[in-house]
Each structure stands twice: as C-alpha cells, then as structure tokens.
Amino acid sequence: MSNAAAVAAPATSASTSGGKSKVKYLGIFSIVMVNVAAVLSMRNFPTMAVYGWSSVTWYVLGTLLFMIPISLIGAELATGPWDQDGGVFSWVKAGLGNKSGLIAVWCEWTENIVWFPTVLSFLATTFVYAFNQDLANNKLYMFSTMLLVFWAVTLLNFKGVHASSKLNNFGTVFGTILPAVLLVGALAIFLFQGNASEISFSAGAFKPDFSFGNLPFVATVVLIFAGMEMGGYQANEMENPQRDFPRAMFMSAIFIVAATVVCTVAIAIVVPSKDISLAGGLMQAFDTFFEAISAGWLTPIVALLVVLGSAAQLNAWLLGPARGLSADKNGDLPPVFLRQNENGSPVAVLVMQGILGTLFCTLFLFMPGVNSSYWILSALTTEIFCVMYILIFAAAIRLRKTKPIEQYPRAYTVPGGTAGMYILGGIGLFATAFALIVGFAPSDQLKNGNPVLYVVALVTGTFVLSFFPLLFKFWQKPSWKPSPGPVVPVAAGGGR
C-alpha cells in the first residue's frame, strides 16, 4: 500500500453482507473501555491506600487539576473541524503545527516503550500467582511470557482497531471492572461481619499533608489519571464522534474516578497499612483483603482476572500512540512510519515498538543492575509525558484564538466560552508544567548518587527525547511527503 493510500484510507472497516457494504463503527462503550483500560490501574491502589481517607482528597485534587481539564478539553479537541486521524497528534497539530504534533505523539510513544517491561513483568508474575509462584524466579519463564504476551497483543493489533477493541472490551470488563466489583462486594461482607475499619473516619482524616517536602508527591497525583487522551486515537472510528466522543469521555472520567476512590478506600478499610508495602505489591494486598473475610480462595481467581486487565491495558497503550505516529501527512517522518496494512493498522510502527519493547525487556531481565535503575528511565519518560500534556493544553487554548468557534464550530465546547477554556486549559497547563518542573527534583531513590548529575541527565534526556523527531529534518527528503491520493471520507459525520 502506498503512503498516500495508507493515509487516506479509512481505518473503519467495512464488511460485505448480502451484497451490501456494512461499515463497522466503534460505539461509546468501546471508547469508554479504551480509556478505562488505559487509565484505571489497580497496581496503584494499595500504595495510595496507605494514605487512608486522605487518599480521597489526593484523588479529588488529581481530578480537579488534571482529570476534568483533560476530559473536557479532549472532548472539544476531538470534535473540532480539523483532521482527526491521529488523536493527540492531530489535536496538537491543529493548534501548534505539525512539528509540535509530532513531538507530542512522539513523547507518548516513547513513554510507552519504557513502560512495557513494567506492565509485562507485573503480568507475568501475577499470572503464576494462581499456580506456582516460584516460576517468577525463573528468568526464562519471565522472558518467554513477557515476550509471548507482548508480541501476541502486537500481532492482534495488526488486525486493526476492531480486533483490538474486542480485547479491550473483554479484558477491561473481566480484568478491571469485575475485580473492582469483587473488592466492593468483599468490603460489604467485611463490614457486614462487624469487622472494624483499619482507618478511622473523621473530617481531619481527609486532610492531606501539603508541606513543601511533599510537592513531588503532588506532581505524582496530578498524573495519576494520565491516559484519558487514549480514546482520542480511535475517535474517528465512531459513527458520530461529535455527539458520542464527549459522552464517552464523561462516562470514562466518572467511572475511573469513582472506581479508583472506592477501591482504594476499600483496601484502606480492610488491609492494615503494615501489610501494604511497595515490594509486596497488589496481590499481597488482595491476599490480605480476601483473607480478612475468609475468602482467600478468591485471590488466585482475582490474579487471573487482573492479568486479563493488564493485557487490556497493554493493548490500549500499544495501539493508540502508534496510530498517532503514523498519521503524519507532512513528510516530517520517514515513510516507514506511515506504513499501514489493509486493516488500517500502523504495522511498521508496531513492529518498531515491538523490537524496542523486546530490547528493553531483555535489558531489564538480563543486564545486571538495570532493573534496580529502571526507575530513572521511568522518571525520564514521566517528564516527557508532561511535555505532551503541556502541548495538548497549549494547543487547545491557542485554537480558540486561531480557529474561533464562530468560524470553526466544534460539536462540543468546554463550558464557560473562551474564558472557560482559558481557565480549564490554564489549570491543566499549570498542573502539568508543575509536575514537569517538580519531576526534575532528585528522588529519594537516588540514594548516594550525585544529585546534580541526576538533574542534568534528566533535563538533557527530556530535551533530547522530546525533540528527537525534529532530528529527522536533517535527513528529510521530498519523497517523504505522501502524494495526494484519492481521499476517502473518514468514517461518518467527522466534520473532516
């Protein structure tokens, strides 16, 4: 398939039935599942549960500073009359130009690659929880399971967004929502049995510690709901994205915040904080949780469900940024990035990230010292993640000026007119810029490392990785620009 055809072809798949062409669209449910899979991570619940009732206040802060701005602004950006092929790439491109769009989606894609070993190792160790935990000590088991799952999900995404969506829907319902429901049910039984809560309830218990020393933690809280933009990569697969995408964003946001708060508080009420540890992880907390109601047999079952949820999470992050990266029509990236197969899947980018992900998994498992220093790479990618969000919020604000809603009507606009956008965009911009700056502060984990060298390495790394796609300019050739082919309308009602 030529680049032009690949770019112009609609990703929405069509099937022929009885001589009639039937176009398949993604429904609101599928987009909600993409967002829930991407954002709702059970792995964070035990760690946040340590803060007891004050975790609720931290979550409210994350909701006010980030979740609400990104959800409302994402809904507006995804329903504007500009190209919508590449989610974050298209949004930032519309507001700040093609190169900024590339930087934004590149940041998300790079963050993703470094994250893969984290989720894959979690998935591999959780899987054996139900059978034989000692297998987790076997590097061959870990390596083969991590790569098997990684490449299986990658190959599934070769089949296009609809095949990917099936795993998202199934995995999120059974792997994230069902365990959350089980937690809430178990909490009800725990309280019904007359057990005392491990955290005492009072107004003061909700008060978080806002001392100066906790500023880095505030920055973490800001990004706790990161990933809400993931549905945007699939917005043009909806039949009526103008109407349905904002609804999907609101439903996802409400569900994610509610589930996160309820599950965290449930763990805090049942599991003593002494039994929650960074090293013990999620399954240790679940084990104590279910043992408290004499239902320890549930833990292995929940472990398998959580594995399913993690696979859905991997799937959501694996496809979205890859689609965004393959949406460049300006010739700023080598043509290999744009290559799509007949299912509209960005196969070349998927293979590239597969190779890079494999490389990082190998380093993580077999290079001595890498797993203990991996947090530095995570810190770096968190920084470039902030760069992406800063660009999204800046683009949304600028679009109100360069493409006023009177001339460029959006199906959904954030409440409060232009002032509303400035306030919401300003809050999001401030919060993510704050997270970026505070993120440069040396972590406690640095121990005896040189803090100055750490900060210099982090700032340089953030700068180099964020602006990396601009380096392609040096090798850019006129042939990189896709030739204008027959443009096929993308899905329906897209305003494009």
Binding site: D134, A136, L278, N371, S372
Partner: protein
C-alpha cells in the same frame, strides 16, 4: 531501521548512570539482619514497634516491618516515625524482582527508597521529610546497602 539503535544509544547512558548509582548489592554478600539494626541504633534511631511479615511473594523467606523514630516515648515524635520493611529472599532473582516492583512504585510514595543488602530487600517508607529518614539512609549506606 536506525531509529531503535539511536533510541537505544540514548537510553544506554541513562541506564549506565542509573546502574552506577543504584545497582543491587551482591546476593552472596555476608549480610546479617543484625547489622542493619545495629547501624540504625548507632545513628540514634529506635525501633518503636515491629511485626512479622507474612508475604506471599515469590522467593520470600521471612521478614519484619518496623516503625522507627528518634524517640519512641514521645507522642510528638509519632508523626516523624517511618516504616522500614526488611524482607529476606531465598534467591537473587526473587529479590531483584521484588526490588523492581518496589522501585516502580516509589513515585507513589511521599518519601521512599528501596535498598538491597545481600539477600535482604529493605524499603524505607516515610511520611515526612524528616531528619530521621535521612539518618536511616545514612545508616544503610554505612553497612554497604545499595
């Protein structure tokens, strides 16, 4: 495809930097649990409470969780106490995996650091940026924990 090579080259120095300042301690190191307690005591810290760990984590052998502070008798000092988790593992792969799990979650804690000392994984989890926490870090460095 040169891009992944370039990206790997970019990541390499960072990983090496990380490995230089936070690599794990040798599993065979002659590390005794008592070294840790002695070092903490020497730095002026007291064990205010301790409980056994009952983890179902791969390779976990035994462990304890402590509340540490400068003055266990003082109510004013309660806010300054922090948690020390000491877990012994029966093999290096299990210890390293637990270390990785802990380090990836560190950003979710206000103050936390993860250490290894022979077969032990040690996690300091604090609530506040207090001098006691720094004393504990110094004590761990003194005994060669990494």
């Amino acid at each position: 495809m040169g891009i992944e090579r370039i990206a790997a080259l970019g990541a390499g120095p960072l990983l090496l930097f990380g490995a230089a300042c936070s690599s794990s301690s040798s599993f065979e190191a002659k590390a005794a649990e008592d070294d840790l307690y002695t070092a903490l005591e020497r730095s002026g810290l007291q064990t205010c409470s301790e409980e056994d760990l009952d983890w179902k984590v791969p390779g976990f052998d035994s462990g304890k969780t402590f509340k540490i502070g400068s003055d266990c008798d003082s109510e004013d000092d309660e806010d300054n106490r922090f948690k020390v988790v000491v877990a012994r593992f029966d093999n290096e792969a299990a210890r390293d995996l637990a270390e990785f799990t802990a380090t990836t979650g560190v950003r979710m804690m206000k103050h936390a650091s993860v250490w290894t000392h022979g077969p032990y994984l040690i996690v300091l989890e604090g609530e506040k940026d207090v001098s006691d926490y720094d004393k504990a870090k110094d004590a761990l460095e003194d005994i060669g924990a990494k």
